[in-house]
Amino acid sequence: MASQRSTRPRLAAAAALALSTVLVLSACSSSGGGGGEGGTAAKVSREAPTSQYQGTVLKKNFEKPDLQLADTSGQPYDLKAKTAGKTVLLFFGYTSCPDVCPTTMGDIGVALSKLPAEERQKFDVVFVSTDPQRDTPQVLRTWLDSMGKDFIGLTGDLEKVKAAAKPLGILVEDPVVNANGSVTSTHGAQVLAFLPTDDKAHLLYMAGTSVETYRHDLELLAKGVAV
């Protein structure tokens, strides 16, 4: 009994010590990159590539997919040929998506609207439908106009869309029609940025990226700052 009692405070103290160690460690890792002195965290940050961009810098630079679909006027659109030499933001989604798709495209629209007109023109924002059966060219145009009048919308054969998305690491599955008539499409919600210099993807933005991060990075992209 007595020995048990005496070990408890010791255990508690050890636990408290462990906790404070964890806290210190997490503080270290969160300040990584800020140039701490000594320690492994600082070493890692020194070795890490320094990028001014806030988006995820891709180690593997994906080729722009070879994709021919219809644009929002119903005309054939060859993604590679039409967007060569432009900075391209590419997103796969569908118009009856209530949350992530309009939020992502809307936020990109707001970020772009903060750039001067001549810088905005350097970008092609491309939305590829993962629900082509319902996303006709007209449906896409109406939906996209709410976020960017010059946003490019592509729709057509879903098999082509899947084939284009797969090598980019973006999952696209057949849409499912629910009992209440709504549609659920499974699609990777990341945005890829292709550079005008090599037409390859260099940056990735996850769903939930803030308008401020987009504005920050689009400004750098417009100025041609190296990734």
Binding site: P98, G106, G109, N178, A207
Partner: protein, 158 residues
């Protein structure tokens, strides 16, 4: 005599009420929230203007709870025939049947996470309108919220 008696009686009953309230508060804290009554309020509700006029919409809000745990079971609206609760995942979204409102905590319906999916509008929502949502909780019953239609890219605090 009778007046002073009445006054004393009133004071007595007042004290009893205060005491009861005190007991309830103590019960709230001691029962870990589960048995206590929830005390709910709704903050920052909004519906972003749907990208397609009258098309698929979303609803976002925060339920604050200063009492015991509750669950949001269902949401209906006179402004739309279909309101369902969904959670966005990495690459899709799934319908949820109930959402926990933790004791002395919050339930956040926010962009990119748990949200309301609203369709089959009675009429296409327009900027500046306030639409009614009826939130049905397991314990607190129905909480009626007037929820403003905001610009598509609105965030609370804008």
């Amino acid at each position: 005599m009778s007046r002073s008696f009445r006054r004393t009686a009133l004071i007595g009953s007042g004290l009893a009420a205060v005491l009861t309230a005190g007991t309830v508060v103590v019960a709230c804290q001691s029962s870990d929230g589960s048995a206590a009554a929830p005390r709910l309020s709704v903050a920052d509700p909004y519906i972003p203007l749907p990208a397609t006029p009258g098309g698929m919409g979303a609803g976002y809000l925060t339920v604050r709870n200063e009492g015991g745990a509750d669950r949001l079971l269902k949401v209906t609206s006179p402004a739309a025939a279909s309101v369902t609760m969904h959670r966005s995942t990495d690459s899709s979204m799934e319908e949820v049947t109930a959402l926990e409102v933790p004791a002395h905590g919050t339930l956040d319906l926010a962009r990119g996470g748990t949200h309301l999916m609203i369709m089959d509008w009675a009429k296409p929502p327009a900027l500046g309108e306030e639409l009614e949502l009826d939130l049905q909780f397991a314990k607190a019953g129905t909480v009626v919220v007037k929820i403003p239609v905001k610009p598509l890219t609105y965030r609370p605090g804008d």
